[in-house]
């Protein structure tokens, strides 16, 4: 039971962590709460289903999945880029309140854009495909972990193979991001811009490019989370971005907003807390969503800099 809840928590947590990275990177550079980031995750989930359902490629799963990821990541990257260019860039010197209101506007716009074009009902993967994906990964993992064909067994917990895929993919993506931020030139520019935008500008860093890249990378990570969630649940709805976005933001604040490792860690902690509380406290599953908000309020009141945050720079 405990192991089961821990695995569930890690699965949800790594999704939160991936989304939280987008929040935290943008916040680190622009001090903007990109409220629309949850919708980017929702777009990613939709794109996965659109790709599989409407572009009927008769490929084996091993060939199809990378294409799905690439498709979703490419388009969400474009969306992130476009949103930044059209909505946030003109407001870079405006009061922060206007930027936040714009972000809420973008979020409402994207939700309804998807609702109008894709319909207000749930959009579903065909049963066949989600079954195929499950079987494919089960076969893959059964070489290492005991399985009965559709589920895996670790420490007495029944696990869907996709949960394991979500956790592993998230870890890989985070390692890639870490490499990108610490080892590449543009990553260095990103860190510099996050430290001090004006100074970075003065020493010749192309701040606009860095900000665009930040938005694109954040969107790509969000899209990856969206694709995996779409595969895991087999259905998406245009409203999923809102709650996931708020929770991911909680995760980012929990870890210390602006701090990339904080976001990863915060996501995992939030996911674990949520699923442990919902699984172990009887009757608490209905109240699951409240936990995230209460944690958010408590952190903001008692430790607004988060777990890892050192800098509580009051940038007005």
């Amino acid at each position: 039971m405990l192991a089961q809840q821990i695995i569930n928590g890690l699965t949800v947590g790594s999704v939160y962590a991936l989304i939280a990275l987008g929040y935290t990177m943008v916040y680190g550079i622009l001090q903007l709460i990109n409220f629309a980031h949850g919708e980017i995750y929702m777009l990613g989930a939709y794109l996965a289903i659109i790709f599989v359902v409407s572009i009927k490629l008769s490929l084996p799963i091993a060939g199809l999945l990378p294409l799905v990821f690439l498709f979703a990541m490419f388009f969400t990257g474009c969306y992130g880029f476009t949103i930044e260019k059209f909505a946030y860039k003109p407001l870079r010197n405006a009061p922060r309140l206007s930027a936040l209101i714009t972000a809420v506007g973008v979020s409402i716009f994207l939700q309804n854009y998807v609702m109008l074009t894709q319909g207000a009902k749930d959009k579903v993967f065909s049963h066949l495909i989600s079954e195929q994906i499950n079987v494919y990964f089960s076969n893959f993992f059964s070489k290492f972990i005991p399985s009965d064909g559709s589920r895996l067994y670790i420490c007495g917990a029944q696990i869907y193979s996709l949960q394991l895929v979500i956790i592993i993919t998230s870890v890989i993506l985070m390692l890639l991001l870490n490499f990108f931020v610490t080892r590449t030139k543009i990553g260095k520019a990103m860190r510099a811009t996050a430290q001090d935008l004006k100074m970075a500008h003065l020493v010749g860093i192309k701040v606009d490019t860095v900000i665009s890249v930040t938005f694109i990378i954040g969107s790509i990570l969000g899209a990856a989370a969206g694709v995996m969630v779409a595969m895991y649940y087999g259905r998406v709805w245009y409203y999923i971005g809102y709650l996931a976005g708020v929770k991911a933001f909680t995760a980012a604040v929990l870890g210390g907003i602006g701090n990339i490792y904080g976001a990863m860690f915060g996501g995992l902690i939030l996911g674990l807390t949520e699923s442990l509380a919902a699984g172990l406290i009887p009757g608490a599953s209905e109240w699951k969503d409240v936990f995230a908000f209460i944690i958010l309020i408590l952190i903001l009141i008692f430790r607004p800099q988060g777990i890892f945050g050192e800098r509580i720079g009051e940038k007005f």
């Binding site: 474009c78 714009t102 074009t117």
Partner: protein, 370 residues
Amino acid sequence: MLKSLFWTFWLWIIALPFAGPIKSIYIASVVFILSFLRFIKFPAKISSFKDNWDDFLSKANEKIPYGYLIVRILFILSLIIIPMFLDRRTNNILVDCGIYALLALGLNIAVGFAGLLVLGYIAFYAIGAYTYALLSVHFHIPFSICVPISAGMAIIFGILLGLPVLRLRGDYLAIVTLGFGEITRIVLNNWDSVTNGPNGILGIARPSIGSFVFHSPKNYYYLILAFLFVAVFVFNRLNNSRLGRAWVAIKEDERAAKAMGINCMSLKLLAFAISAAFAGVAGAFFGAKATHVSPESFTFFESALVLCMVVLGGMGSIPGAILGASCLIIIPEIFRDYFGNSRMLLFGIVMIAMMRFKPEGLLPYKRRNL
């Protein structure tokens, strides 16, 4: 030109997976046409309507004795007389306008005066509505007594929330209030024994004063009009008081305000509480008018809608808040058949466009010069 073409093509590409090739052509072509707007030279002042109106008022005041007063009285009389000749449906819409105008005025105190972005404002509305609903259903307490109680409950929750979180910086505050709004909705949804869960509370008593029971849209209209008059009066008094000045100072620069000896914390709390009280009153009225409350009336969308009204009308401005509420309620009603589901999409666009092109709103609040 080339730039427009490029962006149009770009939007067509990214709209492709969602809208399909044909619909994305529509979307992209709309954007293409709109992109030519930037070649049109707009007159330097778009907000000339308000200036004209002010001009008209001041001229009227010069030409006719008490002209200013007469124009105002005529306006108020028209508000009172015109609805007598309107049908049920129109009056119903006007009542909705009134409720939202009350909410927008209340939110304006927090957002427009004190600069506190509240994203979960609808929670106070919900608290007001449920307070009245529970008191009326279980204890049969009349409307006129419940309204102050609802306002009081909203104030209490406002202070309970405000005390710890008002220390936070603007955008953190926004997220915390959003969280509070969601918590309120989830609690209303899940606390079956008290709130009857998603079904909500039925059979709430209609508004009444003494033995007179308000029962038709026309009656509601006059009641909400009376509320609005009181609200506008209170708002105006606050605006012109020391308090209003202090709020504006806090909004402009909190550190400077503090340095001038303003007690920022308690004044922000006061703004929060008064703002909540407006929502509580509006909520009680809503519950009494609808005779039924359920959690689904109090979603984040409503909060965003009220915020949109404030932003559209102009932060801190009374006519702005009322105009914003009227626009966002009446226009979708008129175009219900055309817009249908897409009105939320338009709200989103309006919010983005307003912040981009006219952040001060349609009827901006003019700061008095000393």
